[in-house]
């Protein structure tokens, strides 16, 4: 009897303590079809994978205004777009954060930031967080490189932009760049998955 109560108590406690990252869907893996989305950008227009038209792929970056790691990477994200848009891989930035928890990430503040930094890529808001969940985004910044294979966009790389968040000049491995360079050259993407430090996505509390 006592053992049963203990077991039950433990089960409840364990369920209480695991209501976190483990409750989130795993999202996509490298090789999966990229989930579609329909999200509004800071320019007021709506974007989806169909907006890519005849682009070869895209660099989808889950990022935001407030996270210091996102801020550290802002200029590098701008540079990625400048370098790879002409090669058919534009940046699509998506802010997945709950804007009640982080008012600095509100749609209006996103518009301000996009103007301030002169973003020429779409900066989209994901108000339901469904896109972040579909991809399995966990932190900002978190990158998913996709490329068109026949009719579908396939996830080719998941992870960090490079290996040095603190200082772009000290980056030795530029993961996103080498992923796209390899895709363009028809070579395998290696590594196709990396981890990075970042800010937790601020999920809406139920």
């Amino acid at each position: 009897m006592i053992r049963a109560i203990l077991t039950a108590t433990c089960a409840v406690l364990i369920s209480v303590m695991t209501m976190s990252a483990s409750d989130l869907p795993d999202g996509v893996k490298v090789g999966d079809v990229a989930p579609n989305f329909v999200l509004k950008g800071t320019d007021g227009k709506s974007y989806s994978l169909a907006s890519l038209q005849d682009m070869k792929g895209a660099i989808i970056v889950f990022t935001c205004n407030h996270c210091p790691y996102s801020v550290k990477y802002e200029d590098r994200i701008i540079a990625l777009h400048a370098k790879y848009l002409p090669l058919g891989y534009p940046v699509i930035a998506i802010n997945p954060n709950d804007t009640v928890i982080v008012p600095e990430d509100s749609y209006d503040k996103m518009i301000e930031r996009a103007k301030e930094k002169g973003f020429t890529f779409p900066y989209l808001i994901d108000p339901t967080q469904e896109t972040a969940k579909a991809y399995g985004a966990r932190r900002t910044p978190h990158v998913f490189v996709i490329s068109k294979v026949k009719k579908n966009y396939i996830v080719q790389y998941i992870g960090a932009i490079d290996d040095e968040p603190q200082d772009a000049a000290k980056a030795e491995e530029k993961f996103v760049e080498s992923a796209i360079d390899n895709l363009i050259a028809g070579k395998p993407v290696e590594p196709s998955f990396t981890k990075a430090i970042g800010c937790t996505i601020k999920w809406t509390k139920k």
Binding site: V16, M17, K195, C199, I201
Partner: protein, 164 residues
């Protein structure tokens, strides 16, 4: 004369004494400490001064550190991912918040090379908390935020459900 020389010497050394306030550590150093931990349960919180939810939950780790000891021997270790060259701002932060739990600045380079060494389930977002006991052989990892009650419940559950 000697007194004034000593005073000058003390003033010269003052900045170094402050520098010694927050040590930097490699993951290897931390793992070594867990390995020699004996009965102690290490509560290792990974945080940074720039991380809002981390800062929000620091008081709970501080409270745990000052606690009654009902959970048994516990060592709270606040491991900050702030860059080692920003150590002075970390020190000012600790003073402002009145933290007495031990803080160390993690001095590891490329994150993708060491994230899995902390825990293979960690995606790399913070806050995150590692519980370690039995000389480092028993561990649990949580990539989430905690309230004080959740933190205590999680630790006691960890103690209950892992081998004695």
């Amino acid at each position: 004369m000697i007194r004034s020389l000593l005073l000058i010497l003390a003033l010269c050394l003052a900045p170094f004494q402050q520098m010694a306030g927050v040590p930097v550590a490699k993951l290897r150093d931390l793992e070594q400490r867990y390995a020699n931990g004996g009965d102690t349960t290490y509560v290792v919180n990974l945080w940074a001064t720039w991380c809002k939810p981390c800062v929000a939950e620091l008081p709970w780790f501080e409270k745990l550190h000052r606690d009654d000891g009902a959970l048994g021997p516990i060592k709270v270790l606040l491991v900050t991912l702030d860059a080692p060259n920003t150590i002075e701002s970390v020190e000012r932060f600790i003073e402002r918040k009145g933290l007495t739990a031990e803080v160390v600045v993690l001095d590891e380079g490329k994150p993708h090379k060491w994230i899995d060494r902390v825990d293979t389930t960690w995606s790399g977002s913070i806050p995150a908390t590692l519980l370690v006991r039995k000389n480092g052989t028993t561990r649990a990892f949580y990539e989430r935020e905690f309230t004080y009650d959740e933190l205590r419940t999680t630790i006691s559950t960890f103690l209950w459900t892992t081998p004695r």
